[in-house]
């Protein structure tokens, strides 16, 4: 009798072991991580991927860090606090970013997408390497107000990160360079290239523009594409688009270069995902796209270094009749990438 019980127990255990084994092998089989894949309609990336090859474990560590509030002084603010996926990685509803201790920044947190194609970061382009970008929000007193060495000390206390760093980099060492590289891996994977526009361009799923979208596309190419060039919908340059100087006299790129020719210039933002990323402009002053179009049509100011495209034939701004605006807005909707703002792999787990 006793022997039989023992055999039964042994049998049951062996079943458990078998079950466990099966589970891991299934897990391995369904890993869908494809690494960094350049969309067919995109140019070659600017980021030097050879210095930071993207791996699944590097990406997973980067994602954990991106949503880790310990990056801030009092463990309240993560990168994801001001870069919310469902808002195209912006801070929806905030004109300027809202950081630690309810402190406010001076600029609108920009969307985080297609960063591998960015030549410079921040509205003024002061940061030239994605790997160096997180240093700024982590140490900025109105954002996360923390020291990176403190962040590293906090992470080293957590077995979760010791294990994640080990998986991503082969040893348990937690360094600033590894943390930054992992964050870059996550951010580089935030590729938005699945809008209707992209599918039309790639001739996928038989997608075509409607008549209004097509008309809007034509207007876009005529009036907007010189700065918001396809397929990223920005040429990555810095320009003064004629918005009135704000109350804090933000001089934009001038602050990073001290070149008078850069005064009041800001980075040309992408037009992708505009439905999710309101408000608009470097200080979030326009709540709607109608406000933005009205600015370009009737409110352009001749401030220093105003872009030449906005002052042709002695005329300030861009001519945009009401019908053209409607069609343009219809076209801009085709740049919304629902998949990008809802993908589970980019979300906090």
């Amino acid at each position: 009798m006793k022997k039989r019980t023992l055999y039964l127990i042994l049998f049951a255990f062996s079943l458990f072991i078998y079950a466990c084994k099966k589970e891991t092998s299934i897990k391995e089989a369904v890993s869908t991580f494809l690494g960094f894949q350049k969309p067919l309609n995109f140019p070659d990336p600017v980021y030097k991927l050879e210095n930071n090859p993207i791996t699944e474990n590097g990406f997973l560590l980067g994602r954990a860090l991106f949503y880790e509030p310990r990056l801030s002084r009092d463990n309240t603010i993560s990168c994801g606090s001001c870069h919310i996926q469902t808002s195209g990685f912006t801070q929806h509803g905030h004109d300027v970013s809202h950081g630690i201790d309810d402190r406010l920044g001076s600029r609108n947190s920009p969307p985080m997408m297609n960063l591998a194609w960015n030549k410079a970061f921040m509205w003024d382009g002061g940061v030239f390497d994605l790997d160096l970008q997180p240093v700024s929000p982590i140490t900025n007193p109105v954002e996360m107000d923390e020291r990176i060495e403190n962040v590293l000390a906090k992470l080293k206390q957590m077995p979760k990160y010791v294990s994640l760093f080990n998986k991503a980099f082969g040893t348990e060492e937690i360094t600033n360079a590894r943390m930054m590289k992992a964050l870059s891996q996550f951010m580089l994977m935030c590729i938005s290239a699945n809008s209707k526009y992209d599918k039309v361009m790639r001739k996928e799923e038989g997608q075509v523009f409607t008549a209004d979208e097509q008309a809007g596309y034509t207007i876009f190419k005529d009036k907007c594409s010189r700065c918001h060039s396809e397929p990223l919908f920005t040429d990555g340059s810095f320009r003064n688009n004629g918005i009135a100087v704000g109350p804090n006299n933000d001089q934009g790129r001038y602050m990073a270069t001290l070149n008078p020719a850069d005064e009041y210039k800001f980075k040309v933002p992408s037009l992708r995902n505009l439905s999710y990323t309101a408000p608009y402009m470097h200080d979030g002053r326009f709540l709607t796209l109608n406000g933005v179009l009205e600015h370009y049509a009737n409110e352009v100011k001749a401030t220093p270094n105003l872009d030449p495209f906005l002052q042709q034939n002695n005329q300030l701004g861009i001519s945009l009749p009401a019908d053209a605006r409607l069609k343009l807005l219809t076209f801009l909707k085709t740049l919304d990438d629902k998949d990008f703002v809802t993908r589970k792999d980019l979300a906090e787990q």
Binding site: G125, F128, I138, N140, E146, L258
Partner: protein
């Protein structure tokens, strides 16, 4: 051939390789010894004392110094017969801090020799300012905070020289204290040209003592670094007029005073 013979033959070959090396003229790498550069911060006629010392600049402003730190990098030496040795870049970055005595000795390995000229950079060269983050180790790791860090996160680049202190002539700042802050950097810009405050200093050691670098000893080149010369130079820097000098065109005036701060006092061989 029996395995034992192969082993013996291999060992013999290896040994003969070693002995051959010894017979040849001494290669430089084998002969390296320590050269120490000591940066001893002073204020005019007095030794610099953080927080407690009070000093007066040419603009008549009394001040104290709470923090002083700067990068020394890219060290080169030259012998009497013009043999130059450049310290390998990865071993040539130092952060000198007044609050940390050990940091004031920058120790490098150079070949044995009698050196009459020494060259170093106050700051960090533009190449390191733009290098991949994995190459930014040790003092170049941008991990410091806003207070004692030597890196601008918002406008990628190192702060070369940082001095902060108090002065009755400084206006009250938002934190309620009369503080002055000089954070001097600027490597010339990455994609758009900006000012370049990297200063290379070359010192002739012959008057106050050449460096005789030998194995088993440590030659120490003792510099006085006179912060008063930062205030009083080609441009007299006034705390009242410019209490906060950071990433601004005015910083060029401060940086232009840097070179005269370094005075070779003596060498201990």
């Amino acid at each position: 051939m029996k395995p034992i013979y192969i082993v013996i033959l291999t060992v013999l070959t290896a040994l003969s390789a070693c002995s051959k090396k010894d017979d040849a003229p001494q290669p430089q790498a084998a002969n390296k010894a320590t050269l120490s550069l000591q940066f001893d911060n002073i204020a005019g006629d007095r030794n610099l004392q953080l927080n407690t010392g009070t000093y007066k600049n040419a603009s008549g402003e009394q001040f104290t110094v709470q923090l002083l730190q700067y990068f020394i990098s890219n060290i080169k030496v030259r012998t009497k017969d013009d043999q130059e040795f450049i310290v390998p870049q990865d071993e040539s970055y130092f952060l000198v801090k007044e609050s940390d005595g050990a940091s004031q000795f920058c120790k490098v390995k150079v070949p044995e020799g009698d050196y009459k000229t020494l060259t170093f950079t106050l700051g960090v060269d533009s190449l390191r300012n733009t290098m991949d983050i994995s190459k930014r180790t040790g003092v170049l790791d941008p991990t410091g905070g806003m207070d004692d860090g030597m890196y601008w996160g918002w406008n990628s680049g190192y702060i070369f020289f940082k001095m902060e202190g108090t002065s009755e002539q400084a206006p009250i700042d938002p934190t309620g204290v009369r503080k002055f802050r000089f954070h001097i950097g600027g490597f010339g810009g990455y994609s758009a040209p900006t000012f370049n405050n990297i200063k290379t200093v070359t010192v002739d050691l012959s008057a106050a003592g050449i460096a005789r670098v030998r194995q088993g000893r440590e030659s120490n080149v003792h510099f006085f670094v006179d912060i008063m010369k930062m205030f009083n130079g080609k441009t007299n820097i006034s705390i009242a007029a410019n209490p906060q000098v950071m990433f601004s065109n005015y910083s060029v005036n401060v940086a232009n005073n840097f070179s005269s701060m370094f005075y070779h006092d003596h060498t201990e061989n």
